[in-house]
Amino acid sequence: MPNIKALNDLTVQVRRDILRMVHKVNSGHPGGSLGCTEFFVSLYQEIMETKDGFDMDGKDEDIFFLSNGHISPVYYSVLARSGYFEVDELNTFRLIDSRLQGHPTTHEGLPGVRIASGSLGQGMSVAIGAAEAKKLNKDNHLIYSLHGDGELQEGQNWEAIMYAAGNNIDNLIATIDVNGQQIDGATDTVLPLGDLKKKFEAFGWTVVEIEEGNNIEAILNGMSTAKSLTGKDKPVCVLLQTIMGNGVDFMMHTHAWHGKAPNDEQLEIGLAQNPVTLGDY
């Protein structure tokens, strides 16, 4: 049985990491990062089967691709706290000569990262390619990917969504972070996404909805369901309803903190709402 308290403690610590990372360099994307913290913690601590260490090919283990690369703070924090590199390296986020670039990349050789992302809409195709490679290699492990909901406005996603269904990519669980927000405002006002469940189903995917996307138990249950639906000829999509900025009250339910760092005072308020659990880097 998963230790929910330990996962929640890690979640709080990751939130602190995110706030401190973006505050230090006065840049980065805290809103989406905080919204997906529980998902990343669940994914790396409980859901994925991974080997010790890191190699690019990821044979005989589950593989994750982050398509909406701007939420790198949560990705880096969870990778570090899952043992891919030292947590102290989080100090170098967005600084010159760092492996922790503004958006994730393989270019500087950061363990845990297998593709560059940042220019949106490319990760679904990459995840499908890795899924095809797993099938060729007769490796039964799964490919996981995460995409922003606003990111689905990029047309390449729909090429990929069509391909995955048409080619029975049933070893892929693509999760959409449905927070309803993007830089210019609500997705409903910028460019409405419509009924994503119906759209994915119409394209031939199996859809799992997680309504409480910031609740660890709900995530574990939903992802367990998603996992049970793999291997049945159809790709699996998880619609993860999250609250942007979750866990820091003044950042919640708004697109305002998509790509803005807190000032000194705001940082203190945010940290006070998330007291140290495992220890700061």
Partner: protein
């Protein structure tokens, strides 16, 4: 002067197809992806031999490039196939981020490059692809001249770790390089010895350069023809050595002179040994419908144009 025999006109894309067929048998990590142009790219035989390693992605080139990038995670060596226009301009950002910046071992194989695509016209005739691809850090850019060389290049790039752009074409052109010849990425091939002028040519213009050199020879002008199949990394030493001897150069390519081989040659000459240079290339223009021969003539991309450029550059020495 060394002469070359045309063993019979063949299309370079068929050289790619033959190479891919051979790779299918010799390297089980090679996979092929195509965006609804299997026949045009001559990928049918690979598809028939290895259906499990052939991926039809439909008319969705961006997705094709992304899938190819993902397949390298797992040790595959993906060869993507579509027309040059849809292999580059249409998917530039996908190549830039998911392939080049990510350092993925993807081979982007592009047929119907340049103006010799012919009757389909300018929408399909890309004359900017060499520039687009050579600007990407870490991208190897290859433009082969005939069937044999294209086949050899296809085999060679599978052994090279890193992203490659392989450019070839549609029309049947003279096949004159050795069958099963060695292909060394980044190594120029000197075809003739000469003292008066260096002609640096790539792709379909290599045979035209040989034709020009033969005609010039009859007029008493000795031209050194260098076949540049690898535009990046460019064999700077071979070019500088030749130009040091001849004192001038003509570059010839089926591409816009902005961003093409000629500019790369001009850069190294400017840095190391400034000498007069003339460009045989398209002059910042789109193409149009017509037969390949008509278009090469109209846009100044044949042996006549090379001869003319040689006369001009000799006067500037």
């Amino acid at each position: 002067m060394k002469t070359y025999i045309n063993s019979g006109n063949k299309d370079t894309r068929s050289g790619f197809g033959a190479g891919l067929t051979e790779l299918g048998k010799s390297n089980e990590n090679v996979v092929a992806l195509c965006a609804d142009l299997t026949g045009s790219l001559k990928m049918d035989e690979f598809k028939a031999n290895h259906p499990e390693r052939f991926f039809q992605v439909g008319i969705a080139e961006a997705n094709m490039i992304g899938i190819a990038a993902g397949m390298t995670v797992g040790g595959k060596i993906p060869f993507t196939g579509t027309f040059a226009n849809f292999s580059t301009g249409r998917v530039y950002d996908q190549i830039r981020q998911s392939v080049a910046y990510s350092g993925k071992n993807v081979k982007i194989c592009a047929s119907h490059a340049g103006i010799t695509l012919g009757e389909d016209g300018a929408t399909h005739q890309i004359l900017e692809d060499i520039g687009l691809m050579k600007m990407l850090p870490g991208m190897t850019v290859i433009n082969t001249c005939d069937y044999n060389q294209t086949k050899a290049a296809t085999l060679a790039i599978a052994e090279h770790k890193g992203p490659v752009y392989l450019r070839f074409g549609r029309p049947k052109v003279p096949n004159f390089t050795p069958e099963n010849g060695e292909f060394k990425i980044g190594k120029a091939v000197q075809l003739t010895d000469g003292n008066d002028v260096t002609i640096v040519a790539t792709g379909h213009l290599v045979w035209e350069a040989l034709e020009a050199a033969r005609a010039l020879n009859e007029e008493g002008i000795s031209a050194e023809v260098i076949n540049i199949h690898t535009i990046k990394p460019l064999d700077e030493d071979a070019i500088l050595k030749s130009v040091e001897k001849t004192g001038c150069v003509v570059t010839a390519e089926e591409h816009n002179y902005y961003g093409g081989l000629g500019e790369s040659v001009a850069r190294i000459l400017t840095q190391h040994n400034p000498k007069p240079q003339e460009f045989v290339a398209t002059n910042d223009t789109f193409g149009e419908s017509g037969t390949p021969a008509q278009l090469m003539d109209k846009y100044g991309l044949n042996s006549e144009a090379i001869k003319k450029a040689v006369k001009t550059v000799l006067n500037r020495k």
